[in-house]
Amino acid sequence: MGNGSFSRWHFEKRETTSNLVLVMVPVLSVVIGLIFTGLFIALTGKDPLEVYLLMFDGAFGSAYGISETIVKSIPLLICALGLSIAFRMQLWNIGAEGQLYMGAFGATWAALTFPDWPAYQLLPAMMVAGFLAGGLWGLLPAIPRAYFKVNETITTLLMNYIAILWVDYLVVGPWKDPKSFNFPISPQFTEGAILPTLGTSRIHMGLVFGVVVALLLYIVLNYTRWGFEIRVSGESPAAARYAGMNYVKNILLVMFISGGLAGLAGMTEVSAITQRLQHGISPGYGYSAIIIAWLARLHPAAIVLVSVIFGGMLVGGYSIQTSGFSSTTVSMLQGAILFFVVGGEIFVNYRLVRGEKGGK
């Protein structure tokens, strides 16, 4: 008693979503992203597999590679953690890049204002100043969002350019190092303004910040009242209001913390890596962090893992330059991955089934 045979594929809503699916969607997105980008690499006549191996080797194949990978993953990690809180509340903060720059600005201000302070005073001061500056930069677009429903996606994005240009202004203007032969850089930081590193490597204390923040975030989201409020507010603002939660206050607070963490990432970059404020301190960490947060499905532990992978991609990107590729190949790879992650999202709620025949 078949009702005709057909074999058309179609989507059917899932009743439940297994953990396997939740893990496989981002993993497969990365794989497909690699294949997709591989096609373009193949167009140039190179073997994509060889290029990827070269990238992998550059990022993870040596002690130096690994340490560089971790160095790159620190700002990614801290920014992505910050973004994940905002994303949980469905606040689309695209402004981590600008918030990072403002954090770098805040930290630099502290470092240049109190050059004589010892590290145990100056470093906390730089952290606070960086967090505050980044946090306020996140809070600014949150105010119109909370009170007048002004779309934060656009405001946070546009404020990135203001922040980047503000830092550029400082390093060619008031904060330019007089001994810099006209390079757009601030004076070098004093010893007390520099984060300690692990042995002789460039891995710095920012790694500790990142891991501690991830841990804290996990605890806050799962075991505290405020974390619960964030999750409820993100799932359903109406329910949050109904349950007596202060939705407006939470928007402001979440955007402040989200921006503050990006600011902290900025602080670690100027303190440990450049050791001064300069043009272009971030190669787009704040944007990559958006992809990381999504790939990790906003889970703090997964963000740590994905940040290291993305750090590796950046380092691998530099190492393929020797074989004639631009390091921006990595940007393309990241873009492709995001594309497939967002596209793959449908499989979380739906499954693809083949129309089957009736009867047994």
Binding site: E235, A243, G359
Partner: protein
């Protein structure tokens, strides 16, 4: 006209339809009756092409058909009016009707479409202006627009999901008049409903589903309310509510000359005066949209008060926030259960915690305790939660409402505001909700029951206030008044209070 033969549909872990057979003839109004989760929606989703059956066959006018998509269903003359209308509010009736319609040219003549829509609505006695925008229409008119929309698409088989849930008694009567006319003109009509009395009064045949299976099809003329109830629940349910005598204590809620604005900035509540005492249920009758929602929101602290005063237990809470109202012991079961009252993607434990989280002293959540309390509520109210870690959106309507009400009464509230608490529930769940509300009243809580079902209001309320145009038309004793009197007040007639 339509035959569904041995339809089986499985979802992971659930057999939603188990060899269900169902057929409707042209010229017939056929009711599909059953508890929540009985498989009515799944069956109709299969008929409208949303789901594919795992087994079984659908025949239309004797020919087997394969409905692969809603578009296929429309092509076979199947149309559905959903409980929640699918209309674009700023567009006119005619614009909504041609929306997504094939065969409309890039440049089209709206006038001629208006005309054919008007003609169609005259033919079936559906009074509707093709050129009026949807947002200006009453709920009943919007429903008529939906019906015209599917007729315009050539529907021969019309499915209506809980069509009278949002209508006044008069509008419901008119709707069935229209449906009868359409049946007389050769259409087949399927009505999904929970309302026994309505189904008995207006349909030709009734198919009862229970637990995914068809219990049987009966001719309406040859059946009774008791028989249908037995078929639906498989056990006799007391339709009469047994109530203890009212034992009023102190004043819990006081509203003095209270006015509040609606969403469009007009006064939705005007000079409301209403007191509710502990130990009594005060019912609010009225046609939907006469200030009920605003009244509930004002009491829950979710809507600002423009003028007047609100007190709970003698404390002035006119300016209180939702949080302060919760702290004052005001519970609220909103109309929108899934989305406001409960968070669809969170699990039963998290939803149970929704309000209790404010009371966590340290700011840290003790999940062990929450799990335990949730398990108690689930057990106490016999809520069917297959896995407390699954999102609650997977629960059926009755179980959702039990979870919601169970949570709201867990804190022993002083006042419970419930809005349409029985809407869309099956007989079994309704019975549970009723007895829970009565238990709370007997415990000494004040209950504000907003409903559109007069029978329910008469059965449960100790006093009955009628809202019309945002004003209280009167407060009456349901034991000393009639449906007709209340109906008149709902239509705007003032009555002297005698309750």
């Amino acid at each position: 006209m339509v035959e569904m033969i041995n339809i089986t549909k499985r979802f992971p872990g659930i057999l939603a339809n188990d060899r269900v057979s169902f057929s409707v003839k042209a010229g017939e109004i056929h009711a599909l009756l059953g508890e929540n989760g009985a498989g009515k929606s799944t069956l109709m989703s299969i008929l409208t092409g949303l789901y594919r059956p795992d087994e079984g066959e659908i025949r239309i006018q004797g020919n087997p058909v394969d409905l692969q998509s809603p578009r296929d269903a429309v092509a076979h003359g199947i149309g559905m009016v959903h409980q929640h209308f699918k209309l674009v509010k700023p567009f006119t009736v005619a614009e909504n009707i041609i929306l997504g319609l094939k065969g409309i040219k890039e440049v089209y003549n709206l006038k001629s479409i208006d005309e054919s829509v008007a003609q169609l609505s005259r033919e079936y006695g559906l009074h509707i202006q093709p050129d009026s925008p949807i947002w200006q229409l009453s709920v009943g008119e919007q429903q008529r627009a939906e019906i015209v929309k599917i007729l315009f698409r050539g529907a021969e088989i019309l499915i209506l999901d809980e069509p009278t849930a949002v209508l006044t008694p008069q509008e419901a009567k008119d709707l069935y008049k229209t449906l009868r006319k359409m049946a007389d003109l050769g259409k087949a009509i399927i009505v999904i409903s929970h309302k026994l009395s309505e189904v008995l009064a207006h349909t030709d045949a009734i198919t009862v589903l229970r637990g995914g299976r068809s219990v049987g099809t009966v001719r309406t003329k040859e059946t009774s309310e008791m028989e249908l109830t037995r078929m639906m629940v498989g056990r006799p349910v007391m339709l009469e509510t047994v109530k203890n005598p009212v034992n009023r204590s102190s004043k819990v809620l006081e509203l003095h000359n209270l006015s509040a604005l609606g969403n469009r900035g007009q006064f939705a509540l005007k000079e409301i005066n209403l007191d509710i005492y502990g130990g009594e249920i005060v019912g609010i009758a009225g046609v939907a949209g006469n200030g009920q929602r605003e009244l509930a929101e004002v009491v829950a602290g979710l809507r600002a008060i423009e003028r007047g005063q609100k007190k709970v237990d003698g404390n002035d809470l006119t300016l209180a926030s939702p949080k302060q109202m919760i702290q004052a012991g005001v519970s609220y079961v909103p109309e929108d259960r899934l989305g406001t009252g409960l968070v669809p993607n969170l699990n039963a434990m998290e939803n149970y915690l929704l309000k209790g989280v404010q009371k966590m002293p340290s700011g840290f959540i003790n999940w062990k305790q929450v799990a335990q309390e949730t398990a108690e509520v689930i057990k106490k109210y016999d809520i069917k939660v297959p896995n407390p870690k699954n999102p609650v959106k997977m629960l059926s309507g009755g179980n959702l409402q039990k979870l919601l009400l169970g949570r709201e009464i867990s804190g022993k509230p002083r006042l419970i505001v419930t809005m349409y608490p029985m809407r869309g529930l099956d007989v079994g769940a309704m019975e549970t909700i009723r007895s829970l509300l009565l238990q709370e009243r007997d415990r000494g809580a004040a209950v504000l029951l907003i409903s559109e079902e007069l029978e329910e209001l008469f059965a449960l309320s100790d006093r009955l206030a009628v809202l019309h145009g945002g004003e209280v038309m009167g407060v009456v004793d349901p034991h000393k008044t009639t449906f007709e009197d209340v109906g008149l007040m709902m239509a705007g007639k003032r009555m002297a209070a005698h309750g």
